[in-house]
């Protein structure tokens, strides 16, 4: 369709080309994903400990949280939380006597995706904690370690290798889910590609370019996670 020189021009980083817009979008995608991942990890750790705490009301609340979030399509959750979240926040502010605020799109995106990730993280971490041999925890108790110390020295290092495959899956899924943020209008990689494509009418070129950027991110992430798993499983006997 096009000569290769004009393709290079379209993808060049300087303003007549759209490469810079795409790269900025890719960084926004990485930033949102990473932020949401961290939020999800904190929520998930709290959720997993809560589910294993043995307190009935906490367990019930967390069960509802993980079931609902995992049963409802991500797109609907993101749209609902995006509007409900900003609306709810403004109502609380109004009640407290402050004026309404415009919630930053970036903050909302991280919060919404993090909330969704938290439900999946809860299950991954719960499984990882349950997979720790009971004897190790009993030995720690027998040494007189307090719960905080036990968690820091025994539970946390022992759960990481168990949780890493799940973490890798969730990281890849948060990158792909972050494309859904485009639907509510925050400009990350998917929306950047769409803007570039509709401005130049080169749909094929820009969506392929975005796909390649996503692929680079996911392939590099895969390599990073397998290196991490190798590191955290050092000293463990290989299965079979």
């Amino acid at each position: 369709m096009n000569s290769s020189s004009s393709i290079l021009q379209l993808l060049s980083l300087a303003p007549p080309g759209w490469g810079g817009v795409l790269l900025t979008g890719a960084f926004a995608t990485l930033f949102i994903s990473f932020g949401a991942y961290l939020v999800g990890m904190v929520l998930g750790l709290g959720g997993a400990l809560g589910k294993l705490s043995g307190i009935r009301s906490v367990q019930l609340a967390l069960q509802i949280y993980t079931t609902v979030v995992r049963a409802v399509p991500e797109l609907i959750l993101i749209v609902a939380l995006f509007y409900a979240g900003t609306d709810g926040l403004n109502r609380v502010l109004d009640w407290a006597g402050f004026g309404p605020i415009q919630v930053n799109g970036l903050v909302a995106a991280v919060a919404v995706l993090g909330f969704v990730q938290g439900a999946y993280m809860t299950e991954v971490l719960r499984g990882a904690i349950l997979a720790i041999p009971v004897g190790q925890l009993e030995a720690a108790k027998a040494f007189g370690m307090r719960p905080g110390l036990r968690f820091r020295r025994i539970v946390l290092p022992a759960l990481i290798p168990n949780a890493l495959p799940g973490f890798a899956n969730l990281w890849l899924s948060v990158i792909k889910d972050s494309a859904l943020i485009a639907v509510v209008g925050y400009q990350e990689l998917a929306l950047a590609a769409r803007v570039a494509a509709s401005n130049t009418k080169q749909y094929m070129l820009f969506f392929l370019a975005a796909a390649v950027l996503y692929l680079v991110i996911t392939i590099l992430s895969n390599m990073l996670f397998s290196a991490l798993e190798g590191y955290f499983r050092r000293g463990q006997r290989p299965i079979t």
Binding site: D87, A179, Y203, T218
Partner: protein, 229 residues
């Protein structure tokens, strides 16, 4: 909470539900068929086919469905009118619709995920069974048809239910290419009535209900297939 709009929009909602179910059924059926070929290609002897299968799965599993959908709808769709004779053919009314591209994107995406699962399942079939089949003189095609593939599908069945549910949760994305599925209907109702939560709540109830129904069906299916443990 105000649900008085349901009666007025019942046709739109019913049509949307049907469309969601149809998209799910089409993408799972065709996707599964493609996945069988993808899995066989990846465990076969031909290195070209193996590489092609792997490249396909990596691409479709490594990029967001939204990008794939837009790539097919806007990208491929913009080239279709240039194919000579296509505009005049009887296929054009179908090829013009967003629904066609949505079904294609969902199918290709499902095939990639399911293909990886079937590849693992093919490799998980015990060697002894394949050797036994070879020992009684079955040809490679017959082994694949009678032993290898049926056993692999049986092994992959528990994860299949999960994949179908993930696929169901992926369908609302098609509203971004003008398909009026159930979520698209809810979006239109929101624009018309300015109600934000009620349409979304209705849609949520539908998806959760359908998810529950799918798990029940697969539970029955799994129980119906005899296993020895």
């Amino acid at each position: 909470m105000d649900f008085s709009w349901i009666f007025e929009y019942r046709d739109l909602l019913l049509h949307g539900m049907l469309l969601t179910c149809a998209l799910l059924a089409i993408s799972v059926t065709f996707g599964f068929t493609i996945a069988v070929f993808l899995a066989i290609a990846q465990v076969g002897n031909s290195s070209v086919l193996r590489l092609a299968g792997k490249a396909y799965c990596t691409f479709f599993r490594g990029t967001p469905l939204l990008i794939q959908l837009w790539l097919i709808y806007y990208g491929l769709g913009s080239y279709l009118p240039y194919i000579p004779g296509l505009r005049a053919s009887f296929l054009w009314p179908i090829l013009r619709e967003g629904l066609f591209f949505a079904a294609v994107a969902l199918t290709l995406n499902f095939a990639a995920y399911q293909g990886e699962i079937l590849r693992g399942a093919l490799l998980a079939v015990p060697k002894g069974e394949l050797e036994a089949a070879r020992a009684i003189g079955m040809s490679p095609g017959m082994i694949l048809r009678r032993i290898w593939l049926p056993r692999a599908i049986r092994i992959g069945l528990p994860t299949f239910a999960g994949e179908v549910i993930l696929q169901l949760k992926a369908t609302p994305i098609v509203f971004s290419v003008t398909v009026m599925d159930l979520y698209g209907a809810a979006y239109k109702i929101r624009q018309d009535t300015l109600l934000v939560y009620e349409p979304l709540l209705l849609v949520t109830v539908f998806y959760v209900g359908l998810t529950f129904a799918i798990t029940q069906v697969f539970q029955k299916l799994e129980n119906a297939v005899p296993t020895r443990r």
